[in-house]
């Protein structure tokens, strides 16, 4: 046996994660190889150090209370006014000192937002939204939280959004074109509730995010890639639509065209 292979397996051995055969092989090897035995012993020392350390960081005492408070706030907001989510990702360092600056920045941002060139996914804010879209797409796949409503019937999916959003997203079944509708859910993009429609293409899933356009322009679909995912963004009848998927850009554009028909 070669020690290079073993040095990796040694950790599986240390962690009790090897199968019986490999375990025995390593034990045999350890008898014959003082270097590996030495290595194992020093890693065991390291593990002991971890066990006796105070490295585990417990949550500060007030954190649970703060989380409960923000959840009950979220809870009452969702039940009383589901259409007004507020921004929460405020991670500014030294926030107390910078609070007033943050307010000024927010005002400036609002001014910028009015001018942003979203249909082309240009500019910083658009980049952030693109990141959010990809993050939401990934999250929807990771958590097994793809649907709030699971149905291939557009007449089930579309009415499901009634009363949950302040707009009615266009829902079309494209089964015959090879993109069956599989469901929909509520999501949050750019600090507001949006509709996410889920379509399937072979083994690939497509999330189509839909939200009202804040500016009227008529642009043809734009493509963009981020973190290995492709996006096609377009606008129609005062709504932004963005399809996100690991499908090729070509197929995603074809999908966008079908949605528009």
């Amino acid at each position: 046996m070669v020690c290079d292979d073993n040095s990796r397996l040694l950790h599986g051995y240390l962690d009790g994660e090897l199968d019986l055969v490999r375990n025995l092989e390593i034990e045999e090897h350890l008898k014959a190889c003082p270097d590996c035995a030495q290595l194992l012993w020093s890693q065991e020392t390291l593990r002991k150090a971890f066990r006796s350390s105070n490295l585990y960081q417990r949550a500060p005492s007030g954190l649970a209370a703060r989380i409960r408070a923000s959840i009950s706030q979220e809870d009452s907001r969702e039940t009383q006014a589901p259409l007004q989510p507020t921004p929460i990702f405020m991670l500014a360092p030294k926030r107390k000192v910078w609070n007033w600056l943050a307010i000024a920045a927010a005002i400036l941002l609002v001014a910028l937002v009015t001018w942003r060139a979203l249909p082309g996914l240009e500019g910083r804010n658009s980049d952030l939204i693109a990141q959010e879209l990809v993050a939401s797409h990934i999250r929807s796949l990771q958590l097994g939280h793809l649907f709030d409503v699971q149905s291939t019937d557009q007449h089930t999916v579309k009415p499901w959004f009634d009363g949950k959003l302040d707009f009615s997203p266009p829902v079309r079944d494209l089964t015959e074109e090879g993109f069956p509708l599989v469901g929909g859910r509520l999501d949050y993009i750019d600090h507001r509730a949006v509709a996410a429609l889920v379509y399937q293409r072979r083994q690939h899933l497509i999330n189509v995010f839909v939200w009202p356009a804040d500016k009227q322009t008529d642009n043809s679909p734009q493509s963009k890639s981020s973190q290995g995912y492709n996006m096609v963004f377009w606008e129609r009848s005062s709504m932004y639509l963005c399809a996100v998927s690991d499908l090729s850009t070509g197929e995603l554009q074809q999908f966008a065209q079908l949605m528009e028909k």
Binding site: S7, R8, L9, L10, H11, G12, D15, E17, Q38, S42, Q43, T45, L46, R47, A49, F50, S52, S53, N54, L55, Y56, Q57, R58, A59, P60, L63, A64, R66, I67, R68, S70, I71, S72, E74, D75, E78, T79, I88, F89, M90, L91, P93, Q131, A135, I138, R139, Q142, L143, G144, H145, L146, D148, Y188
Partner: protein
């Protein structure tokens, strides 16, 4: 209003099922972003996200589920706020290779102080730091870590092997530096 009733029930259930894992959530965030205040903000944000997605939680291991959201939130934070550091940390070329060989194992015998271990762990690249924290501090199995990070189990073992080797090297270097005064 049945909707409101359901939501109140949700908050209660969330409190019961997810919040007991707050320490685990904070520990992971704290080690990933290496800052107390940021870690608190991230855990708070992650819990809110978890609450929004709680309807989609189909039972199972709530700790792993919450940790995954904390991990995603932490990486989003790092990408937004420390993109350069994140990119550098993943760059394998940054390795330092001058590990002292003299009497090294003998030094290792002595108990490793927590402080030194903490510093060495904090200096590790985030991908190694993360598997070590999940394994040594959180006690997750290879399979649980693999599912959380989204890599094969073999990769978890490799990352642990390399992370531990680098941690050991770093400790030896620290020991050697301090060894000049009074070991």
């Amino acid at each position: 209003m049945p909707n409101a009733m359901q939501a109140v029930g949700n908050a209660g259930r969330f409190d019961e099922i997810v919040l007991p894992h707050l320490d685990a959530a904070y520990n992971l965030a704290r080690w990933l972003v290496r800052n107390k205040q940021d870690a608190e903000d991230i855990v708070q944000e992650a819990c809110l996200r978890a609450f929004r997605f709680f309807g989609g939680f189909q039972g199972g291991d709530a700790r792993a589920w919450l940790l995954k959201i904390v991990r995603n939130t932490s990486y989003t934070f790092l990408e937004k706020n420390r993109p350069v550091a994140l990119a550098e940390e993943f760059d394998e070329q940054v390795h330092v290779r001058d590990v002292p060989t003299f009497d090294a194992e003998t030094i290792m015998v002595r108990d490793v102080e927590s402080r030194m271990l903490r510093e060495s762990l904090e200096e590790l690249p985030v991908n190694f730091r993360e598997v070590l924290v999940l394994r040594e501090l959180e006690g997750l199995s290879y399979k649980e870590i693999a599912e959380m990070i989204g890599v094969p189990i073999g990769t978890v073992m490799s990352s642990l092997a390399r992370g531990r080797d680098r941690l050991r090297e770093s400790l030896l270097r620290a020991r050697a530096k301090e060894g000049t005064r009074g070991l």
